[in-house]
Structures are given as structure tokens and as C-alpha cells.
Symmetry: C2
Subunit: 335 residues, 2 copies
């Protein structure tokens, strides 16, 4: 049997209260007993039972992470930042793939509640009323990543999508493109603001918006392919495309390749996120970078602060984006 606190107390000739105090770096024991107890602990290979500890302390040192899709390169990079920072702070993470399903999300929320996670990180999904209700019922702090809610006042960590999209589009325009298509997301969360930024940039630069050139995907690779195929008949009406995610941008490049079109010779493309696939693409993808790792880190630090201060309010953070120039955008200026 694995040793418990009782075993070490007995062997060290002290009460379990004393062992507990030593374990938790509290006051109330002599240096001598501390040494003795520590020695017994090592001797026995004793490890405190976090479950028992959690039951009384009401802290499990674990955080629930909800994502719509673990497989996306967006999630991969985010997860890395979250994991790193959680581990640094002695927290573990339970990761949940919601698959964008409402019932799955709710289901997970309840499970996470039963498992008494100390806090929640919720990424890239709209906060439905029912989610908000059950989160509130759970009574634990939440931080949103790459999403926010006007209705529900939850703190978030994100980039200003509208502004970032504005810059991405402007970048294309500054490179001499005046007919720009868009592969947009189909949601209100990030799809819409990114599209608005795109439209605004076109307008501000005195170009005319062509709604035909706007196409809607779901941020994934396949949808990027599909969108580009939709755009194909209109090939002569644009010279560049702005994709609302790297995965979609790479999908577009892939569909172009299938149709013997080359990027950036036949058209330029700029992505969004700066995930690993952006580097991996042929040609390497010019994109607007979201600092995914830092965002994960910031989110974890915020929840932990909320947990430890027992204050479920936190400020939100707008992180900086940045345009990473690689080889998928051709300048039309010098030609």
C-alpha cells in the first residue's frame, strides 16, 4: 500500500497535523521535527494525495481547457503556451475538444465542474447563454481566448481582429493590389470583425468593394480549398486574397496548385494566425501573427490570479499582432 500521511506521522512520532504543516510550509514546528519528518517522507517515498487535499482545500490545481478543435494548428500552438505556463505555476490542464458542439461543450462544462477544476480557459467559441449560466453556477473563474462576448462580461485575451484584418488588407493594397478577394470565416466571433476590417481597409484606400469576391469558410484547411475553388471562375477579377486563417490560406494555395495556379505569381495571399503551417507552406506564407503562445500564457496567468485572489474579475488584454512577411505576396509596385 502506498504510504499516507498517517504512516509518516506514526513513523516520525508526530501527529498528522504536524506533518501537514510541514508539507504545506506553514508555521508551527521546530527545525528538528521538520528534519525528522522530511527524512521519513523521503524514506517512505510519501506523496500527498492531491484528491484528499483537494476535498478539503477546495483547490485541485487543475484548469479546464475547452477548444473547438485540438487538431487545428491554431490550437496546437495555443495549447503549448497554455501548458507551459500552467505547469510553471504547478497547475495541470484537462483538455476538452468541443468539436463546436453545444451539447458537448455543456457536457464538458459539467464534468469539469464535477471534477472541481479551479478555473476555465475557453477558446475560440461563442459564449451561449447556457454556457454562461453553467459557468456562473460552477462559480469558478473563466478566461476567454480569441473570443469575447458583449452580453456576458467575461475577461478575454485576444487580438483586435478588425484592426489586424485592416492591416493585412492594407498590406496587400500597399503592395499594389487593388482587387482583393477574401476567404472569410462564417462566424460572428472572428469571421465578422476580420471581414469588417477588410472592408474598411478597401474603403479607406478608395477602392471599391466587390461582394462577389467574399467567400466563407470555417477556418479549416478544407474550407480554404473550397473557397478558392469558388473564386476560381472570377480569377481575373482579383490579384490577391486575404484569408482569415492560415489553414484556409494554405488550403487556398493547395487548391490553386491543383489548378495549376501559382502563388504568388498568379495571385498573392496573406493569412492570419502565424501558426506552424504558415512556415511550412510552399511558398512560406505571409501572414498576420497572433502571439498564440503569449496569449496562452497570459490567459493562464489571469485565471490563476483570479483563482488565488478569489476574485473572478480580471482585466482583458488586447495583444499585439504583427505582419510576418514571407513569400506569398508579390509586390505589384515595381512591375
Amino acid at each position: 500500500m502506498k504510504p499516507t500521511i498517517k504512516d509518516v506521522a506514526q513513523k516520525a512520532n508526530v501527529s498528522i497535523a504536524t506533518v501537514s504543516r510541514i508539507l504545506n510550509n506553514q508555521l508551527g514546528y521546530s527545525e528538528k521535527t521538520k528534519e525528522r519528518v522530511l527524512e521519513v517522507i523521503k524514506e517512505l517515498g510519501f506523496r500527498p494525495n492531491a484528491i484528499a487535499r483537494g476535498l478539503v482545500s477546495k483547490r485541485t490545481k487543475t484548469i479546464g481547457v475547452l477548444l473547438p478543435n485540438v487538431t487545428s494548428s491554431f490550437a496546437s500552438k495555443l495549447l503549448k503556451g497554455i501548458e507551459e505556463s500552467a505547469h510553471e505555476n504547478d497547475y495541470s490542464m484537462i483538455v476538452c475538444n468541443t468539436d463546436h458542439s453545444g451539447s458537448r461543450t455543456l457536457d464538458y462544462l459539467n464534468i469539469l465542474g464535477e471534477k472541481k477544476v479551479d478555473g476555465l480557459v475557453f477558446s475560440s467559441q461563442e459564449i451561449k447563454e447556457e454556457y454562461y449560466e453553467t459557468i456562473t453556477r460552477l462559480g469558478i473563474p473563466v478566461i476567454l481566448i480569441s473570443t469575447m462576448s458583449y452580453r456576458f462580461p467575461l475577461p478575454y485575451v485576444k487580438v483586435d481582429d478588425r484592426q489586424a484584418a485592416y492591416h493585412a488588407t492594407s498590406y496587400l493594397i500597399e503592395n499594389g493590389h487593388d482587387k482583393i478577394a477574401m476567404i472569410s470565416g462564417n462566424d460572428d466571433l472572428t469571421g465578422k470583425p476580420r471581414m469588417e476590417g477588410y472592408k474598411q481597409a478597401i474603403e479607406d484606400h478608395g477602392l471599391t468593394l466587390d461582394e462577389k469576391l467574399i467567400t466563407y469558410g470555417d477556418f479549416d484547411f478544407e474550407s480554404g480549398k473550397k473557397c478558392l475553388k469558388q473564386l476560381l471562375p472570377l480569377k481575373d477579377e482579383f490579384t490577391a486574397v486575404f484569408a482569415a486563417s492560415d489553414d484556409m490560406a494554405v488550403g487556398a494555395i493547395s487548391a490553386a496548385y491543383e489548378n495549376n495556379l501559382k502563388v504568388p505569381d498568379d495571385f498573392s495571399i496573406i493569412g492570419f494566425d502565424n501558426t506552424l503551417v504558415a512556415e511550412m507552406a510552399i511558398p512560406p506564407l505571409t501572414t498576420v501573427a497572433q502571439p498564440l503562445r503569449e496569449m496562452g500564457k497570459a490567459a493562464i496567468e489571469k485565471v490563476i490570479e483570479m483563482i488565488e485572489k478569489e476574485d473572478h474579475h480580471a482585466s482583458s488584454s488586447i495583444m499585439n499582432f504583427q505582419i510576418i512577411e514571407r513569400n506569398s505576396v508579390k509586390s505589384l509596385k515595381s512591375t
Copy 2:
């Protein structure tokens, strides 16, 4: 305050034992009291505290998952299979990024032990003696994915790397390539058997092995680039390359692109894994598929069976690989 089992017992006029029985679908209560209790539970919005439950039942319904790198496309796809299957079986997963570090791995193993996970999934890492010792000490079942150990008898789920590599290499040979370079992994786990399969295929087909054409990476994108650059001066001495991972294959394609070399015109390449990046590559990558999702699923099912049967022994599974033909290999036959 959140309702406890006591609250529902009181309100339903029964003992907590009865509530517990109903909660756990045991025998020993009338249909009438069951209904009443269930109603109270709903009324109060009662959810059992999994921590308290875990303390007495010794089951937490959570599994620890250790991976060297969550960001890799290999891990992404695997994680998806693991998550899906865990959730189907009402288990949660704590994911741990070991970063290939021994101390981190050990650290995590201990934390997972303290948190009383019911089982462990350990992927893509060598089992060092100290790992094995602490795993044994924890007394919970483990399943290995894409790794195994001759010294320590732990059940695993993997593909036969040697055989798969043999087939990948043979595939190139059958397509008319007789000078084949390799971008190998630098470890004994999967790197070595894949290289052996490669060598064997070359030998069996009566070709001559050229050690100069073997180069060593660490399975990641960057190392694939680096390896291809090493191979560049030898460009005329091979027509195809076998890369031990898709990430490295894509890295190689990327480095080729930088050097104005085209795949598959200037050389052919076959990868290993069939992760999402293989589909995303330009050209789409021909590769030997590991059924990553199924492997994750099989692993979870095995641990759960071990957990529930309280028998820490399980059979290992060799999963089937498959060559997925896409566009990165050119046939030299018809030319």
C-alpha cells in the same frame, strides 16, 4: 453554496446512502423513492463531487497523457483520437508536454500520481529506468503509443516501423528510383527501425546503400530543412528521399523550394505519419500512414480495460500502415 448529497437526502427524506445508490445505479431502493430523489436532484441542480467520490472509490476517471511535443502534427492527430475515445468512455485527460526532458517527465509522472489518475498513456518517448520505476510505484496501468521497450514489459500500440519503412522505400524503388537518400530520426525508438527498414529494402532490391545519403533529424520541420540542405551538395547522387516523418519531409520540400528545386521534378519524396501537414503540403505528400486516431483510440480502450479489470497487463497491438499516394513521388519508369 452548491448542494451536496446531504442536501438532496434531507430534502427527499432519505439517507445519503440511498441517494448514493441511486446516483450509482445500484440496487436497493423502491421505484418511488428513486423518482423522488431524482426530482430533488434536478430541482437542486445537484452534481456529485468527483473529488469526494474519487477519494473513496479510488477512481478519478481521468487519464494522464504524456507527449514530447503537443505542437507536432503527429501529436495533434493522436490527441484527437485519445480525447474522443476517452470522452466516449467518460474519462478526462490531463495532457502533459514533456519536451523530451527527463526531469519534466518524472515531474509529471509524480504529479499525475498525486492527482491519482487511473491510467497513463505515454507516447513517442523512450522508457528510461527511472520512468519505469516511478510508474511501477504509482501502481497504475500504462499504455505506450508509438514506442516500446525491450527491457520493460509495457503494452504498446504502434506500427511496425521497420516494415513500414521497408515498404516506403520499396515504393520508391518500384517507381524506378535507385538512388535514395534518407532523412532519418536520431533516436533508437523509431528512427533506428525506420532506417533499418530502409536499408533492408535497398539491399533486398539489389541496390547499393550509400551511407553518405543518410542524414539525421529530430522529426521536426526545421530539422527536415537542415537535412535537405546537407543533402544538397549530393544532389546528383539521389533521385528520391525517404523522410522518417511528414514534418521533416515538408521541411525538406521547403528547403528545396528555397533552393529553387521542385518536388517531384527535381527529386521525389515520401514521408511518414500521414498527418494533416501531408495533405496540406505543396505538392501533397505521398506518405506512409499511421492510423493515428485509431491508435489513440486503441490505446485508450486498452488502458480503460486494464483499469476496470484491475489487471495491469494487456496485449500490444501492431496497427496497419498504408501508403497514401499523393503527388510528391514521380515515377521514373515511363520516362
